[in-house]
């Protein structure tokens, strides 16, 4: 143990003894009686302690308590104001959220077409175009296509009668029936074997059925058209 460490230990013992916090007081008392240096140090510590206790007491200003009360009131008011502001902010946020939701759901977007000006002007009669019926269009086209093919029908055959029964027959069924008939009939020579085979192999189904039938009729020569018309009438009559 160095001298400095020893000095610190002595100082610590003397200090604790002065404060009444040293367990072996009798040992210290005996040591202080024997060691004049330690005794002097102890007395100096006593004087310092007494001197510190004798220092003038600081006194608080007269408005110390008032300042504390004011500050507490201020803090309470601030807290209340913050709480109130929090409530208002929450309410505003709620309102804003509701408005946004309403705007996004109910108000039309830029892509939504604006109402017709006629509605705004208060006109009572507004002509609304009839909805497009695809079946009607297809039927009309089919009629036109077949009419093109049948326009040169031989006299004595009523085209009106043929078309009257044509409305309810799908083009696929019609064409396949004619193809079947032509395949089994003796008219192969009229149509030609390759023509009949092609005709029979064509599907005439789906979206292309009508256009296929139209193209087929358009390829027929006059003799073939006569044969086709005859068979068409038979098919429609059977149907």
């Amino acid at each position: 143990m160095s001298d400095k460490q020893r000095e610190e230990e002595w100082a610590e013992r003397i200090s604790a003894y002065l404060d009444g916090e040293y367990d072996e007081e009798e040992t210290i008392s005996a040591w202080l009686e024997k060691d004049p240096g330690a005794a002097r140090q102890y007395r100096q510590y006593q004087k310092i302690s007494q001197g510190l206790k004798d220092l003038p007491e600081p006194s608080a200003s007269s408005d110390f308590m008032k300042k504390i009360h004011l500050e507490i009131s201020h803090q309470k008011n601030t807290a209340q104001r913050r709480r109130r502001m929090g409530v208002w902010a929450a309410a505003a946020l709620l309102l804003l959220s509701f408005s946004w939701y309403r705007y996004m759901i109910i108000v039309p977007s830029a892509e939504t077409p604006l109402p017709d000006a006629r509605y705004a002007s208060g006109e009572s009669e507004v002509s609304i175009p009839a909805p497009v019926n695809r079946e009607t269009v297809e039927t009309e086209l089919t009629e036109y296509a077949l009419w093109t093919a049948l326009k040169d029908m031989p006299e004595g055959i009523s085209v009106a009668d043929t078309l009257a029964q044509f409305e309810d027959m799908p083009i696929e069924q019609l064409m396949h029936s004619i193809a079947e008939m032509s395949w089994n009939a003796d008219d192969n020579e009229t149509f030609g074997a390759d023509r009949v085979e092609t005709w029979h192999s064509w599907p005439f189904t789906g979206e292309d059925a009508l256009s296929d039938a139209f193209i087929f009729v358009e390829t027929l020569d006059t003799a073939e058209i006569s044969a086709f018309n005859r068979m068409l009438r038979i098919v429609l009559a059977e149907a």
């Binding site: 003397i14 604790a16 916090e21 140090q41 510190l52």
Partner: protein, 170 residues
């Protein structure tokens, strides 16, 4: 609020005394004491029966004082306060002359003010506020042995300071 007022009335002097010895400035001491009681007011609901009230109070005061001392212009404030004290309590103009004036009280105050904060708080709590080692250890959140050594070093530094600037007191 009345109970809290009674509490402040009872403890304001010990707290201000502690803060004053820690900062050596009456204005700072009042500010720190005020902050201490405000913090205490906020912490009253969280106080538990097993917490000694004075220990909690001085723990708050000590933290507030240390924060203050760590604050800006710590050194300037201390010097300024010492100069004010010098001007008020002695006719000497500067610190050196003030030390030479052999004003024991001022010399003692200066010696305490120049102690490191950890020594000074232990000495103040012991000498001015009369806490025992165990209580000081609780306030400073350190072992009793540390309190004992810090107190001894504080006293020894004060003693050397006084011996250096004039041993009339000793």
């Amino acid at each position: 609020m009345q109970a809290f007022t009674a509490l402040v009335t009872r403890y304001q002097h010990p707290v201000i005394r502690f803060c004053y010895r820690m900062t050596d400035s009456m204005q700072d001491a009042e500010d720190i004491a005020q902050e201490t009681f405000l913090r205490l007011y906020g912490a009253l609901r969280n106080l538990r029966p097993d917490n000694a009230f004075t220990t909690v109070l001085f723990c708050i005061a000590r933290n507030a004082a240390l924060n203050h001392l760590r604050g800006r212009r710590r050194h300037e404030r201390r010097v300024s306060a010492l100069e004010k004290a010098s001007a008020g309590e002695s006719s000497a103009a500067g610190p050196y002359e003030y030390a030479q004036s052999q004003d024991n009280a001022a010399l003692l105050r200066k010696a305490v003010a120049e102690l490191p904060a950890e020594y000074r708080e232990a000495l103040v709590l012991r000498e001015y506020n009369g806490f025992d080692y165990k209580e000081i250890a609780e306030i400073l959140s350190c072992p009793v042995g540390t309190v004992r050594s810090r107190l001894a070093r504080a006293r020894e530094q004060v003693r050397r300071h006084l011996l250096h600037y004039g041993d009339d007191m000793l």
